[in-house]
Symmetry: C2
Subunit: 337 residues, 2 copies
């Protein structure tokens, strides 16, 4: 194995000079730097990660805790993870993958052993058991999602309340007067993930402001539940012409169910969803949607963490504004009869 002393000898300088040439933490004359770089290339030198971590108390590794259970949309998690890894690499960091099920002990372990310098935690609950630990840890962290009491924490997420509002506003602008939100399964509300309630709140508030009739229904993510929900909505609210769906796997089944029940989308019923753009674009009929910006959130989360690691101040809350793209499932309400 080639080490820093080998490079130093080869370049005719001291080890510390090589180190400084590598880190840029003190000025090196052009000529010396050239010689060092040449030696590094020639010898194929790679600094030992462990030695570096030990001497500098920086591992240059971030922990990413991903959720894995019912109700979480897998492609979103995946896209998020890839974005975190890619952005971390741009900042010369690597990413250690942890699963939710490792729990608080897992967080404590990677932090206390100095395996990682900082942590990104996905799928944060309103009253997440990990919050006290994250506050107490000597390493910075960024949470994806907002707990009930975000004090002392750095959080980032899509502005779900604004997203709900944007959907209601969109339907209102198209002339719809009676709208419904079909949301996440009941367990997601019970689990108090926060974003489900926020969407409902934003949707309801925006609808009321504009004088619309609105209602909210949680719904299981199965075709059968979609069918039952469609039937129920038609029965209880025959005047319904605008629908918002916040439940990724349910969007298409719900549209299918309405179609089977004789409603045309968008002519009889306008549908707008919160879902990844990819899903909205690839649907049989492209769906008007507010994007779930996984990649942006991932990149921004890493950016926040880097600033914290550099001792720079960061905002406690970062809310990404919703981006609604009109596609083929919403249209102006036609007043019949």
């Amino acid at each position: 194995m080639v080490k820093i002393t080998d490079v130093a000898q080869h370049a005719g300088v001291s080890p510390s000079t090589v180190s400084y040439a590598l880190s840029g933490k003190r000025p090196i004359s052009d000529e010396t730097r050239q010689r060092i770089e040449a030696s590094i290339r020639e010898l194929g030198y790679r600094p030992h990660a462990g030695a570096r971590a030990l001497a500098s108390s920086r591992s240059n590794v971030l922990a990413l805790v991903i959720p894995f259970r019912a109700g979480i949309h897998v492609p979103v998690v995946m896209q998020f993870a890839v974005s975190v890894v890619t952005t971390a690499r741009q900042h010369d960091h690597d990413v250690l993958l942890l699963t939710q099920e490792e729990g608080e002990e897992g967080l404590r372990r990677v932090a206390d052993t100095a395996l990682v310098d900082a942590l990104i935690v996905m799928d944060v609950q309103l009253h997440d058991a990990r919050l006290p630990l994250l506050r107490a840890l000597d390493r910075p962290s960024v949470l994806i999602g907002f707990p009930a009491e975000p004090e002392g924490l750095t959080c980032i997420d899509l502005d779900f309340e604004a997203a709900g509002g944007a959907c209601a506003a969109h339907l209102a602008e198209l002339g719809h007067r009676c709208v419904a939100l079909v949301g996440s399964p009941p367990e997601v509300y019970l689990r108090e993930t926060g974003f489900a309630q926020r969407v409902a709140h934003g949707f309801t508030a925006a609808a009321r402001e504009r004088g619309l009739t609105s209602m909210v229904y949680p719904c299981e993510s199965t075709r059968a539940a979609a069918r039952a929900m469609a039937e129920r909505l038609l029965r209880e609210h025959p005047e319904l012409t605008g629908l918002m769906v916040h439940n990724e796997p349910l969007v298409q089944p719900l549209i299918d169910a309405f179609r089977e029940l004789g409603l045309r989308v968008p002519d009889d019923l306008s549908v707008v969803a919160i879902c990844p753009d990819e899903q909205a674009e690839q649907a049989p009929v492209p769906i008007t949607s507010v994007a779930i910006p996984s990649a942006e959130i991932g990149a921004e989360a890493v950016g926040l963490l880097m600033r914290k690691l550099d001792g720079l101040p960061v905002p406690g809350a970062t809310l990404l504004p919703p981006r609604l793209t009109r596609r083929a499932t919403t249209t102006r309400r036609t007043v019949s009869g």
Copy 2:
């Protein structure tokens, strides 16, 4: 920060005794061990990962390289990753996540800096550019998928050839005489991923053995392509009664397309797929399928790596036998007329 000398002092022993108590690499008297464990608990000691890696030349971290691009089914990758992390933890290892796009340089980096002890590489191509590097690396690796020349490498995957054969055999047993395989998009065949060809080969060979008429069609993963494919199959092979699909996102669209064209599944057309069990179970009509055992592959890949790290011999090739589960999309051929 609490260090090993603190623990040693607190327990009244030497640092090496603490180290050995932790690693179990030499016998410690029960009484001493108790005292040490108590001290560790009391002081909240956690060994520094970097110091450990430096002194022992073992980081206890595995690299996992995941693919991210068209034609790869995201849930499969995700499930695989979770299984690797979970299994690695059972062996006291962590997992560093790398994306395919980091390429050979990424592999070399994490290996040469001793950031990781070993590597798992997903989505290996028939003539993968990374193969020479993986052979030359001083760290063990396990490949998911089989290259054209697996000599000197450790590979594991579902036995896709047997899977293709199992599907043909299943259809034959149900009395079908004319069967087709709708496969991955052409680019997957062009990319020479290997498994696409293997499925086709196994399917064709098993069909021929049993005297069936069979054909193979690559197909894009879009609804439009599914529809066109269904029409074409009906037109060119009106006697077709058995279909195998090896293209996850296409399974349901294809079934839908046939249904729209007036064929009932399974009464007029039996359909068997290679796809994750989860997808097969959750379909509107549960799909008879050969499972893609991501979790088993992930767990076994880690197991192989652990044995290699321990200097134990491992098989060069591990092929997981296909597991076909009969569900609601295949049935006995009814000879009409």
